[in-house]
Amino acid sequence: MYPNPHHSSSAARNGRRIFCFFSVLLWLAFSNIPALAHKVTIFAWVEGDTVYTQSKFSGGRKARNSTVVVYDKEGKLLLEGKTDKNGLFSFKIPKKTELKVALKASMGHLAEWTIPAEEIMGAADNSEAGVVPSTQQAAPSTETKTSSELPATTAVSLSLQDVQDLIDRSLDRKLSPIVNMLADSLDRGPGMSEVMGGIGYIFGLVGVALYFATRGKRK
């Protein structure tokens, strides 16, 4: 009748308005995408005999003054410390096993990073290797007085150790940008696909719920 078309046109207009409203909300959400998200990440890597950790809130904000706790494989607490103002915290390797580094940021945020045993072992071997030359250095100095052949061989082994150390040091230096890049790429916020997927899920659920809610009626 008469009021019906009028009603439906106003409903359509309202529908359009609601659509606009929610598209603005969505746009607001997406316009913030580079600086979004809400969780913490911690990234740890080994350089020499020291473990470095970097802690962040997603979106790149550094987790300042947050507690970092280090556990061994069995979950025994090894050490604890606070991040500095750049979200960094470093410690000497306390034990040569797999290490779990946990970041306890404020407000119930928690993140974990596991350093596999091989990484620690490799570093530990180097640090042991670093100790060996010093004894060898002491040894040649005493032996140089007694024999003349030995210094030559120890000198070779010494230079091998030096080469090893040099390679390690320069590798650490060269790899540090890559390590930093990895740390940065870890906390990519959720992208368009996750957001759209989630909204799709919700609409799907609405469909399923409506199907079951109206099934009785259609019979």
């Binding site: 998200a37 809400h38 969780k39 913490v40 904000r61 404020s106 959720p190 919700i202 659920l205 009626k217």
Partner: protein
């Protein structure tokens, strides 16, 4: 607002899950088939709102929008928030699946409380400024209560209550204002274009059906 996995003790997790289950049951019982779409849309809005990021102090906080859900959905905010949080946990890694119960409780219970405290402002026939003020209060108080509840959950697990709650509430102060404003704007907008969506909650069931 989202508590990560491995922070809370198992007893807190179980208690949170149990209370959430009860809340969701109440919500689903009250969910009319006509209201399913609006609950879904608000669930989607809640899901996306967590991406709107507000830089605040040492931490990063985001919008919650539980006040708006409470105002429009009442008890039905429980299932809507459960769905939103579940998807946030799965897709964004906010919070986690084991803490889903506690997180839902922390966000949905304040929504229901604010529904009872301020919902009367959204009834048909209230003045425009009454609606605006109650909606603002609803949006901001829901965030405030959520902050207190997060502090309380941490306290039950052994953290000192006052520092934890203070920190959460302080970090969410700017969010409270933004959410209050957004909720008021939404209420104002809905009253203009879709009053039945806003007021449907406050009309007796028998009257709303026919």
């Amino acid at each position: 607002m989202h508590i990560s996995e491995g922070v809370l003790s198992p007893s807190v997790l179980v208690a949170g899950a149990a209370l959430t289950t009860a809340g969701v049951a109440v919500g689903l019982k009250r969910l009319d088939h006509e209201e399913i779409p609006s609950a879904g849309i608000l669930s989607a809005a809640f899901f996306v709102a967590s991406l709107v990021h507000v830089p605040a102090g040492p931490a990063s906080v985001h919008l919650v929008m539980n006040g708006l859900l409470g105002l429009i959905l009442g008890w039905k905010a429980f299932p809507a928030i459960l769905v939103g949080l579940g998807l946030q946990a799965l897709l964004f890694q906010f919070g986690g699946l084991t803490t889903l119960g506690v997180n839902t409780l922390n966000m949905a219970l304040p929504a229901v409380i604010c529904y009872y405290l301020f919902g009367w402002g959204a009834k048909a026939g209230t003045r425009q400024h009454v609606l605006t003020i109650t909606a603002f209060a609803c949006g901001s108080c829901a965030v405030l209560f959520s902050g207190v509840m997060v502090g309380f959950s941490l306290y039950l697990t052994g953290e000192a209550f006052l520092p934890a709650a203070k920190l959460v509430v302080a970090a969410h102060l700017p969010v409270m204002f933004i959410e209050g404003g957004l909720t008021a704007a939404c209420a104002f907008f809905l009253r203009r274009v879709r009053p039945e969506l806003l007021e449907g909650q406050y009309v007796p069931k028998s009257a709303s059906q026919f």
